[in-house]
C-alpha cells in the first residue's frame, strides 16, 4: 500500500484515493500534421518501460482531482518524490544511480538493471 504525498493537498494520502495515469512528460508534437508516421506512432503508442527510476503521472481521483507527477522506482516500488504538473523532477535515473534494491535484484536474477 502506497502512502502518497499529493503536492496540491500538501499531505500524504492513501493509495486508494489515487489512480496511475501512465508515463509523465510526454509532449504532444507541436505540429501533428508535420509528423512522420513513426514520430506520431511513438507519441501515441510507445512508452518507456525502464527498470529503475520512472516518472509517472498520477491523479488524486478522490480528493483534489489534480494530476501530478511521481518519480517511482520500478524495482523497489519506492516513491522517490512527487511534484506538480509543469515542474521538472529533481531525482532522475542519472542522478540516482543504481540503488541498492535494484542492485540486489539484478544480482539475484543475473541481469543488469
Amino acid at each position: 500500500m502506497f502512502y502518497i504525498y499529493c503536492p496540491y493537498c500538501g499531505e500524504h494520502r492513501e493509495e486508494e484515493e489515487f489512480h496511475p495515469k501512465g508515463q509523465a512528460h510526454i509532449e504532444r508534437p507541436k505540429e501533428p500534421e508535420a509528423c512522420s508516421d513513426e514520430e506520431w506512432g511513438d507519441y501515441l503508442f510507445f512508452r518507456d518501460n525502464p527498470r529503475g527510476v520512472h516518472h509517472e503521472m498520477w491523479v488524486h481521483a478522490v480528493g483534489c482531482r489534480k494530476f501530478f507527477n511521481v518519480t517511482r522506482h520500478t524495482v523497489s516500488y519506492e516513491i522517490l518524490e512527487t511534484y506538480k504538473m509543469g515542474e521538472q523532477p529533481s531525482i532522475t535515473a542519472d542522478s540516482q544511480g543504481p540503488s541498492r534494491e535494484a542492485a540486489a535484484v539484478s544480482q539475484k536474477e543475473g541481469v543488469r538493471a
Binding site: 496540491y8 493537498c9 492513501e14 484515493e17 478522490v62 480528493g63 482531482r65
Partner: protein
C-alpha cells in the same frame, strides 16, 4: 454580470419534497435510542450547496463582499460564519464548496455572478446532488475510524478541517466544523448506501437517528 443562464432549482413550496434519505427511512427505519446512545446521526437535508471555481484572489474578494466570510486559501481548510450556518470549504486549488441554509443558494449565486462580472469563474448549484449527514456523540470518531481511509485522530484532523476521501468505498467529503460534530457530504445517489452502512456500523453504539 455574466451572461450565463441561471434559474432557481428550488421547487415551489406547494410541491412536496422529500429528503434524499426519505426512501431509506421507510425501508431501513430510523432507530431511536435512549440515554445509552453514544452516537447521534442527523440528516441536514435541503441545504444550498454551491461549487465555486476560479482564481482564489478574485473569488475571495467577491465572497467577502457577498457572504462576509473569507475564502479558505489553505488546503483542507473549512471556514464558517459566526452562526455556523454558512461555510466554505477548500476542495482543490481552484475549487470550493459553499454550503448555506436552504433557499439562500440562488440569491447567493446571483449576487456572486453580479459581483464577479466578467472574471473567469464558474458557479454550479449542486444542492440537488448531495446531502449532509451530521454525526455527533462520543463514538463518532470511533465510527469514522471503521469507515474512512483518512486518519481522523484529532492531531491530524483538527476542528476547521475538511477532506474529500473514501467513505466505505464511496467518495465523500468529511468535515469537522466543531469539537463534537462531524459532517459527511454524500452524493444523493449514494445516500441510501451510506445511510445503511452507517446504521450497520453504528449499531454497536446504540445509534440515535433524528430524521
Amino acid at each position: 454580470m455574466s451572461n450565463a443562464a441561471t434559474f432557481d432549482t428550488r421547487t415551489d413550496t406547494a410541491i412536496p419534497v422529500e429528503s434524499p434519505l426519505a426512501y431509506s427511512y421507510r425501508h431501513s427505519g430510523a432507530p431511536r435510542a435512549g440515554s445509552s446512545s453514544r452516537l447521534q446521526l442527523r440528516e441536514r437535508a435541503m441545504l444550498g450547496h454551491l461549487i465555486l471555481r476560479g482564481g482564489a484572489i478574485v473569488l475571495d474578494e467577491a465572497v467577502r463582499d457577498v457572504l462576509g466570510i473569507s475564502l479558505p486559501g489553505q488546503p483542507q481548510a473549512l471556514v464558517q460564519d459566526a452562526s455556523g450556518e454558512r461555510s466554505i470549504q477548500w476542495l482543490s486549488p481552484d475549487e470550493w464548496l459553499v454550503i448555506v441554509p436552504g433557499g439562500e443558494e440562488f440569491p447567493l449565486e446571483t449576487q456572486l455572478r453580479e459581483r464577479l462580472g466578467d472574471a473567469h469563474f464558474a458557479i454550479s448549484d449542486v444542492s440537488g446532488g448531495q446531502t449532509l449527514l451530521e454525526l455527533s456523540g462520543e463514538a463518532a470518531r470511533e465510527l469514522l475510524m471503521k469507515t474512512v481511509v483518512y486518519d481522523v485522530h484529532p492531531s491530524n484532523f483538527p476542528v476547521g478541517k475538511g477532506v474529500t476521501t473514501v467513505f466505505a468505498k464511496a467518495t465523500t467529503i468529511l468535515r469537522r466544523p466543531s469539537e463534537e460534530r462531524w459532517e459527511l457530504v454524500v452524493r444523493r445517489s449514494f445516500a441510501d448506501y451510506c445511510y445503511r452502512w452507517l446504521l450497520d456500523a453504528a449499531a454497536e453504539y446504540d445509534v440515535n437517528v433524528q430524521p
